[in-house]
């Protein structure tokens, strides 16, 4: 790397924090919320206006049609069965995957021999696009919800495993030594020092993994299913029903936001010691 190039990089690097320090006019919470709402409304209006005039509504549908579709699905209740199926597969996949990932992470984190032994295989499995396992899961678990759970679980498992493993490896050796000097058994060291200390890493993993559980469930439903939001989006697409596709996407986005909020909430409760330190 040549010297001038290095300099530009550095300048670019410094520009970012400097930008953050530009004193903005203080914006109240209400003003900001109103602006955000206004932006959303503006986008919807432009979308509605452009549809059928600037762009063929076959491609982008329009907000009124989408809203009507959502309203109809809600009133006749059909959307809830699909949400239920997807939510169930997401939740089960998330729970199974994160439990498995956390256990594997702790186990390998505290067993140097096993982690070195399994290292190349885990790397290979991790590099594998997990989505490619979907046909296998259909063969193993059938067309029902189990194959969706399996796909979600596998996606979650590796993410949680990697974070937990890193967290366990990062545990302060002095804390471990301190506990051992106070007659802690190996099990006590793991339960009372290693795991609590790795907890914030585990949570970081859970937070990353949550959307992937949803991805796994939806993808599984797109491949082979007769219910769920993934099935519905796939079905709408195959019927050239653009409004239907957008309506399902909207529901999936809402679901994703709600799930992330849930993880934040749980983490906030469990890590009071970190929150109060500010």
């Amino acid at each position: 790397m040549s010297a001038p190039e290095l300099k530009t990089n550095q300048a670019a690097f410094e520009a970012e924090p400097a930008l953050a320090h530009v004193p903005l006019r203080p914006t109240g919470g209400m003003t900001m919320a109103a602006s955000q709402l206004a932006l959303g409304v503006a986008v919807l209006l432009i979308w509605q206006g452009a549809s059928g005039r600037l762009v063929d509504s076959f491609f982008i549908s329009n907000p009124i049609d989408i809203g009507a579709r959502l309203y109809r699905w809600t009133v006749d209740g059909s959307i809830f069965a699909h949400i239920g199926a997807t939510l169930y597969a997401t939740a089960m996949g998330f729970i199974i995957g994160s439990a498995g990932g956390a256990l594997l992470g702790v186990w390998l984190g505290v067993s140097p021999f096993a982690s070195r032994l399994l290292n190349p295989y885990l790397n290979a499995l991790n590099a594998l696009p997990k989505v490619a396992l979907a046909p296998l899961f259909v063969l193993w678990f059938g067309l029902g919800i189990e194959s969706k759970i399996a796909l979600a679980a596998v996606l979650v498992l590796f993410l949680v495993f990697l974070n937990t493993f890193a967290g366990v490896r990062e545990v302060d050796q002095d804390l471990i030594d301190g506990a051992r000097l106070m007659r802690a058994t190996r099990a006590q060291v793991i339960l009372k020092v290693v795991i609590p200390s790795a907890m914030s890493w585990v949570f970081a993993g859970l937070k990353i993994a949550m959307p992937y559980a949803l991805i796994g469930a939806v993808l599984g439903e797109m491949i082979a299913a007769n219910r769920g939001l993934g099935y519905l989006v796939q079905f709408s697409g195959s019927q050239f029903d653009t409004a239907g596709v957008f309506a399902v996407l909207f529901v999936i986005a809402l679901l994703a936001v709600a799930l992330n909020y849930l993880v934040d909430l749980i983490q906030g409760r469990m890590e009071r010691w970190r929150v109060v330190s500010r």
């Binding site: 002095d174 030594d177 301190g178 506990a179 000097l181 058994t185 009372k192 010691w273």
Partner: protein, 256 residues
């Protein structure tokens, strides 16, 4: 009580050996307070780690109460400059940690922890987390935890180095009181000569790395000691000057 027999310790960084401790022999009596003083990074902490059984000596052996140390030495309480409280536990749960490990029922360990917390002057902070406390308060919590563990030997590795001078004096006073109440043996590692002479029965001056004992001085100042005023007595000054005369050589050589 504690006997080092020709102890050496080397660390290996690739092929190069770093000799931290060389051929050190010394004996520490029961209930004695021994201060080990020397330049920073001279291998003093390594010495404590070996007495705690966290490191094995490369050569020689350390005998603790008649038996060579082979594993982690659970008869000692170890206090380092970094306070090693568990950040996700409240002060009470940190202080009670050794009791929890020993399987003492919850109600009893809370009661005993509260008592000790009062005793070390942390009353009212039982439910705080370590990162809500000042450095001095965290030291008090560490002392409380050590007290509750009931260690017969305290290994102190520059425990008060990060505190300001006034706070240090308060901690010295507290520490001397607790040690005499609980009849502990103390090995204190420090680079603060004032601290060493104020607290110890005996001060050992270490050379630069590899550490070995260069000088030994008995501090026959009467106990209990007034940590605030003892430094102004002439006897204190004599001890201080004699030790400094030897200690400065280690610093002098370092500069050349």
């Amino acid at each position: 009580m504690i006997r080092l027999e020709n102890v050496s310790k080397s660390f290996y960084k690739g092929a190069t050996a770093i000799n931290a401790v060389r051929d050190m022999s010394l004996t520490i009596e029961r209930h004695e307070i021994v201060a080990v003083i020397g330049p920073s990074g001279c291998g003093k902490s390594t010495l404590l780690n070996m007495i705690a059984g966290l490191y094995a000596p490369t050569r020689g052996q350390i005998v603790y109460k008649g038996a060579a140390i082979a594993d982690v030495n659970t008869d000692v309480g170890y206090m380092t400059q970094k306070d090693n409280l568990l950040p996700w536990r409240s002060v009470r749960d940190n202080v009670a940690f050794p009791l929890e490990l020993a399987g003492v029922p919850k109600a009893e360990r809370a009661r005993r922890a509260n008592e000790v917390i009062q005793h070390v002057g942390l009353g009212g902070f039982e439910d705080r987390f370590p990162n809500e406390l000042s450095g001095g308060m965290r030291k008090r919590a560490c002392l409380g935890r050590m007290l509750l563990y009931g260690a017969e030997t305290a290994l102190l590795d520059e425990p008060f180095a990060a505190l300001d001078a006034q706070l240090k004096l308060a901690m010295h006073d507290l520490m001397l009181r607790l040690v005499s109440e609980n009849k502990q043996t103390v090995v204190l590692v420090t680079h603060d000569l004032m601290e060493a002479v104020t607290l110890a029965d005996r001060v050992l001056v270490c050379t630069r790395r590899p550490a070995t004992v260069a000088m030994e001085q008995r501090i026959d100042l009467a106990r209990p000691r007034d940590v605030l005023n003892i430094r102004f007595s002439s006897a204190f000054k004599e001890h201080y000057d004699a030790l400094w005369e030897r200690l400065r050589l280690e610093y002098h050589e370092e500069r050349v």
